[in-house]
Symmetry: none
Subunit: 214 residues, 4 copies
């Protein structure tokens, strides 16, 4: 029962993409509408014209991009061919995959979470977090009922580690490259490497957090 996705024209999407790219690196205040217009190859006035304001453009970025970052778990729950831990692992892969692929947007999210103000944006983020939390909760409760997972699991804390680890890895890629002497690895290969590393790492952590009785 998702709310109907807002339709954006091709040109609007071009602006949104440009905005995402610049917001990710320079932040909202560090990016001017002129920068965005230039990046998108359109007239400055178009931004106000299409979106009303710079703020509304940021909201449009969220509207457009959050669709891609939702974790879908429904089909997974119904699948009897997979063990509970396998389902969790698939979910981790899915999560890592999506956030590595949507790095720019994820960077924006990290920034926005630092602002302590209730805005439409913070509402978006909250909704997304809750949705993702709910998805994983379902899987875990399922596993607990099936006896695969231990009883006392702090799911929020577990999610914090997952989101935090991926976020931190995204923000410190260069440091990671340097520390592992991977400066010369081509970018696409490095991204694949990163995904694999994070995936394995998180699966190990989750396995422990879900099954190991402290």
């Amino acid at each position: 029962m998702d709310k109907p996705a807002i339709e954006f024209t091709e040109k609007q999407i071009a602006i949104i993409d440009a905005a995402q790219k610049l917001f990710a690196v320079h932040g909202f205040d560090g990016t001017s509408v002129r920068d965005i217009a230039h990046e998108a190859g359109i007239n400055v006035a178009m931004i106000s014209y299409y979106f009303g304001s710079k703020e509304k453009l940021m909201e449009a970025v969220f509207e457009q991009k959050t669709n891609y970052t939702r974790i879908k778990v429904e089909n997974l729950l119904l699948n009897d061919a997979l063990s509970h831990i396998e389902k969790i692992n698939i979910l981790i892969d899915d999560y890592v995959e999506k956030f590595i692929a949507q790095q720019e947007f994820h960077r924006i999210m990290i920034r926005e979470q630092l602002i302590e103000k209730d805005t439409p944006i913070s509402g978006f983020i909250l909704e997304l977090k809750k949705r993702n939390l709910l998805s994983i909760k379902k899987l875990i409760h399922d596993g607990q009922k099936g006896g695969s997972f231990k009883k006392n699991i702090d799911i929020v804390l577990m999610m914090t580690t997952m989101v935090g680890t991926v976020s931190q890895m995204i923000t410190s890629q260069r440091f990671y490259r340097e520390m592992n002497n991977l400066e010369d690895m081509p970018e696409p290969e490095f991204q694949k490497h990163l995904k694999k590393k994070l995936s394995v790492h998180l699966k190990n952590l989750f396995k422990v957090m879900l099954t190991y009785e402290a």
Copy 2:
């Protein structure tokens, strides 16, 4: 043999504190020098007078605050009364303690890491990261030599989880409160609660990462 800490006057520190507070929440570009001057209760011109520029003020924030966020490990290494894992646990406690206490500054660090540009600030951060990595490396290698820890440990990845988890917790405190029905817990108590939670959680994770053979 640390380089001699730059001495700031009382008024300079007041400005630095005000700047830290505002940079943490609104970011560098989202904070005007007038905001800072107002927060610090001083004239705008004093910021240029004392620090030269807004950028230099940010650097001063880093100079002033990084001293508090360095992990000290030297004494720990020499201490024979503690097991290797106990030393790691102390280090975790130390780290969590410092970053919860210096939340504002930590928020600034999170933001700054998102900027992909080499600046004096990114230099500060890099130096801090390397220093902290080195500290923990020493402890872990010590434990490996003593046979307490397993051989193949991806220390950078482990640190990523530690820093990421704490960072993510800091940025999503409100969400954590809400999810755990802790909205009414007084702030100081909540911070203590958070510290405890993170400490125990990270110790568990580290124990696994350091000893459990996958």
Copy 3:
């Protein structure tokens, strides 16, 4: 084969004229962009919008005005109906006429020559000087070949006297009026008077400098 003149819009020219007027009297540093905007009846931001910066506006003033202050000598050289000294006299008339008419711009030039720095502006001035020197050189060499003028003529020094005399007269008009009891002469008439005076005076001086063997 002059380089194509930069086209300025009507509004840009209004700004250039306002700038010229104020730069002439108060100098570059003594004139604020707000002064110029007010004089031109436009918004301050328009100056950056149209010219990029205050400096660039000054350059635009030079681009726009130097076209009018170039001495043209080509047709004069080919004219066989005039004696060499007549040609020189026409050139003097032309020069005086132009610099009296373009007093404001000439004042700016005088100021800018006082600055000992290589800037686009000093480049403009140098180019203009060289061009004018070349023009007069051609005429004089022509006269020397024809036997009308003497051999040893210090053309640079001669030009210095011409430019210096006109410049000095422009800057001390009020003094001149006062010393000659011309305070009540209407401005247009006075300007005509000045032109005539300078013209006759310089023609006499040039005649001597060109023909009199010391």
Copy 4:
């Protein structure tokens, strides 16, 4: 009957000298009191403290420096051993000598004359001009009475040429060097060369202007 020269302390003179140097090249508005203080090696506050304001400092520059630029003619008039034209020549030498020697101050004067406002400074300049004009008038009238000079002499115009030529030469020294291939001549030698050139040139011009009946 000169008014008693204002006495300046050694430190005040240091400030005045620094101010003169900077005003000459960057102009009044282009020079900050901090620049002057730095150049003079004193505290910024000293300028207001000693002179009251930046404007008053400029006036002090004029008070201090105009003494050196006044033409003295009294003794010359009484000297019976010199012909009238010789007296004029001495005066020209004196003038050229003084203005080449006091180039910095002369540059300031050129600038200030461009400002069309009645200020204490413009008063200084006017007074100086009148005084110098009076001096030369005396000499010329003396020569006219003695029959050495012609009747109709436009003394103001003649002075305009003298002052203008020297001024223009001062502002375009670099151009002069370049045009005469003197780029490599050492500065002191070049200044001597300039003085000689101007002196001979002006003497020739004056001789004509004073004796030649058009």
